[in-house]
């Protein structure tokens, strides 16, 4: 016990120390691509978050296939646990220990880019590839007019349920985001399903805990109501937006589902799979698993409409080249390899995600019109909201996550959101408004 405590303290102090020596900024590398890997063979270190097993296996096989195909670039894969991934990246950045290529959850890009830990890829990416990428991928990867990250996949949220169950209970099946259930309708549906024998009809994947999931999964609620995580006109304040009456009202409805006992705690992560819950509110990554259980009966519906139309999250893990990269060309060679349709499809087959390029989508039957996952393509083109494109994102997500956690446990909605606003605004102020420099 003593040793571990000491280790934690030492770790913290070391970070404090290194934060000082590296000036807290990291070094700036403005070098871009030259189009040629020189001085090979170059070893490129890649950090990857250890997500689901299938995803991990695909990346590992892609690395070995790439290494076998090239003599001038060798990629070395390092897997890190997902739970603390962002913290580890931050600590490594502060200590100047970043690898050449990093994968990171989309919205953290702005902070890394602002801190100059990433370098722009504008000089690397071909115009053909850029035009083939989904606009949402380019939008998520761009900060201060430069492209800092590209993803192999995009994402989406939905209500997973069973057609047979809805029909049996006389529940309307929406055909797409435009006629999504209203929030009131959804509350009534939950009541109906509870009456039909589902003690806890709704699975909100609470087992993920107070993590990025809360922001990704539940910020569309306030966005659908007309609120948002921050005022996006200048990204300087969340006041009057995050804690607007529309946001408060929407999250009060959200809280009422807990108070009514509709929500399964999902401690065993099997609420929907075992049939305990009738509806699972989750992202694309559960598609493959759920499909195995329910087959063609499985249907994905848009999230409820809280006033201004159904919304969904978007953006996913992205690849970025760090300012530590020994050879930007070598790093790009691998990122470019991952963005080939064949590689993207191999990846999306493993995790059910939306392919990042239009050409890969066209080759994926499960995203064709009429297929269950088609809704994700539609959503990305119409109702998806990117998470705020600001370096303040880490604070925004931490504060919102905390607010949702409080609301889930019965805390006052307005107070929870006011607290979040206060923390966010203070953070922006203490960073001089996150000025964009050079």
């Amino acid at each position: 016990m003593a040793m571990r405590r000491l280790a934690v303290l030492l770790g913290l102090f070391t970070v404090l120390g290194t934060a000082c020596t590296s000036g807290g900024g990291g070094q700036t590398s403005t070098a871009g691509c030259t189009g040629k890997v020189s001085g090979g063979p170059v070893t490129v270190k890649l950090w990857f978050h250890s997500g689901t097993g299938a995803e991990r296996d695909v990346v590992a096989s892609q690395v070995s296939a790439f290494n076998a195909s090239r003599s001038d670039v060798k990629v070395q894969l390092v897997l890190l646990p997902e739970g603390q991934y962002n913290d580890q990246v931050k600590a490594a950045a502060a200590g100047g220990q970043l690898p050449d290529i990093l994968d990171f959850d989309g919205p953290f890009l702005y902070n890394y880019a602002w801190s100059r830990n990433l370098i722009p890829m504008d000089s690397c990416i071909s115009s053909d590839l850029k035009a083939d990428l989904l606009p949402s991928i380019v939008a998520q990867g761009t900060y201060a007019k430069h492209l800092y990250g590209v993803g192999s996949i995009d994402s989406g949220l939905g209500l997973y349920t069973r057609k047979s169950l809805l029909t049996k209970n006389g529940i309307r099946i929406p055909s797409g985001p435009q006629d999504a259930w209203s929030a009131d309708e959804f509350s009534k549906i939950l009541k109906t399903l509870q009456g039909a024998g589902f003690k806890k009809p709704l699975d909100l994947k609470l087992n993920y805990g107070a993590t990025e999931w809360y922001t990704y999964g539940f910020s569309p609620i306030i966005q659908s109501a007309g609120g948002d995580l921050i005022n996006r006109s200048n990204y300087q304040s969340a006041d009057g937006v995050l804690n607007s009456s529309a946001s408060v009202q929407a999250l009060t409805v959200f809280q009422s589902w807990f108070k009514a006992g509709y929500v399964d705690p999902n401690d065993d992560d099997a609420a929907f799979k075992t049939g305990r819950s009738a509806i699972s509110w989750v992202g694309h990554w559960m598609f493959v698993d759920y499909k195995k259980v329910y087959g063609d009966d499985l249907v994905i519906l848009p999230l409820p409409n809280f006033g201004t139309g159904s919304k969904t999250g978007m953006g996913s893990w992205q690849w970025g080249i760090t300012s530590n990269a020994k050879s930007v060309d070598a790093a790009w060679a691998f990122v470019n390899y991952l963005l080939q349709d064949k590689q993207i499809i191999q990846y999306t087959n493993a995790n059910g995600a939306v392919p990042a390029t239009k050409s890969a989508i066209a080759q994926s039957p499960q995203f064709a019109q009429g297929s269950p996952e088609y809704i994700y393509v539609v959503q990305l083109q119409s109702i998806a909201v990117p998470r705020p494109q600001t370096p303040a994102y880490p604070t925004i997500t931490q504060s919102f996550t905390k607010a949702i956690d409080d609301i889930v446990h019965g805390g006052d909605v307005k107070t929870a959101l006011d607290n979040a606003v206060r923390t966010i605004d203070k953070d922006i102020k203490s960073n001089d408004g996150y000025p964009i420099k050079g």
């Binding site: 934060a19 600590a91 602002w114 401690d267 880490p394 956690d405 203070k426």
Partner: protein
């Protein structure tokens, strides 16, 4: 050549004053490098706007970080939680450790097996133990509620980590389970140091078991007990691993601690300056309580 006793003594003193320093040098250097220097850095940082990652130039902000911390309601909630944790854990854990130490000090068959069993949790990594306990605490289908339900005929069904009224209690039970073995071993060593003849004498004087415990065991164990109380207090104040893994400070801040706030601020929000201010305040509080403990004990001695 040593000619006189005084000269001999002088040489001895010179040797004695060098050798101890030489032996403690590695320790002192490590302490300076890993505790004193970082602490002084933390004090310095606490007056600046230092961030983990930021292109913004470092600047002096005076007491801003301290003012902000002391105005934050979460800070006081964390402080209150920690005090409650300490006030419950220190006496309970020490009392339980003493009981266990006395039990495993009996000359019984297989007593060593019991010692090992009680000590085993100490050897487990707290983070791993916390993950296991989180599963044990699951309200529906968890082992603990399964047991409680069977014993109470379904009457007892606490929500444990999901409820503001039981989350801290759940953390306390788990922490005591994990930590008590260490204190037990310290006290056991103390017990075995007590000369047998004191008990024999007490026996002859007609002291019963309770009197022997009260007037022989406890006074003889005094130093071990003091050590245990001090160490437990310091550890209890540093409460972090369990809450980080099991609750992240929730629900509704009911298990928030200062260390957790520090990590949230320093890592999550990257505000090293403010996190340093929290670290300094934390240090002052723990130091003050330790000094108070020492003063109280001195008074008892007088």
């Amino acid at each position: 050549m040593i000619s006189s006793p005084t000269q001999y003594l002088k040489t001895r003193i010179n040797q004695d004053s060098v050798a101890p320093w030489l032996f403690s040098l590695p320790g002192i250097l490590l302490l300076l490098a890993f505790l004193v220097t970082p602490f002084l850095l933390a004090v310095t940082y606490s007056f600046t706007n230092l961030r983990l990652l930021s292109p913004i130039p470092l600047r002096f902000v005076g007491l801003e970080n301290y003012v902000e911390t002391l105005q934050d309601p979460i800070f006081y909630r964390a402080l209150a939680n920690m005090l409650l944790f300490v006030v419950i854990v220190v006496p309970v854990q020490t009392g339980l450790a003493l009981t266990l130490a006395i039990l495993v000090n009996q000359k019984l068959f297989a007593v060593k097996a019991f010692r090992t069993i009680y000590f085993a949790p100490v050897l487990s990594v707290m983070a791993v133990a916390a993950v296991v306990w989180r599963i044990l605490y699951v309200p529906d289908g968890g082992f603990i509620n399964g047991f409680l339900g069977a014993v109470s005929g379904g009457a007892l069904h606490p929500l444990w980590l999901h409820s503001t009224s039981t989350a801290l209690l759940a953390i306390i039970i788990m922490s005591v389970w994990q930590g008590v073995g260490f204190q037990m071993i310290v006290l056991l060593a103390g017990l075995q140091d007590i000369p047998e003849d004191l008990y024999e004498a007490a026996n002859i004087d007609g002291a019963n078991r309770w009197h022997q415990f009260r007037f022989v065991t406890v006074p003889q164990l005094r130093n071990s007990l003091l050590f245990v109380v001090t160490i437990t207090t310091i550890f209890a104040f540093g409460l972090f691993d369990q809450v980080y893994v099991m609750t992240r400070g929730g629900p509704l801040n009911s298990t928030q601690t200062l260390m957790l706030t520090l990590v949230d601020v320093g890592y999550g929000r990257q505000r090293i300056g403010q996190a340093s201010a929290i670290a300094v305040i934390f240090f002052v509080i723990v130091l003050a309580i330790n000094i108070a403990q020492r003063l109280l004990i001195r008074e008892e001695e007088a």
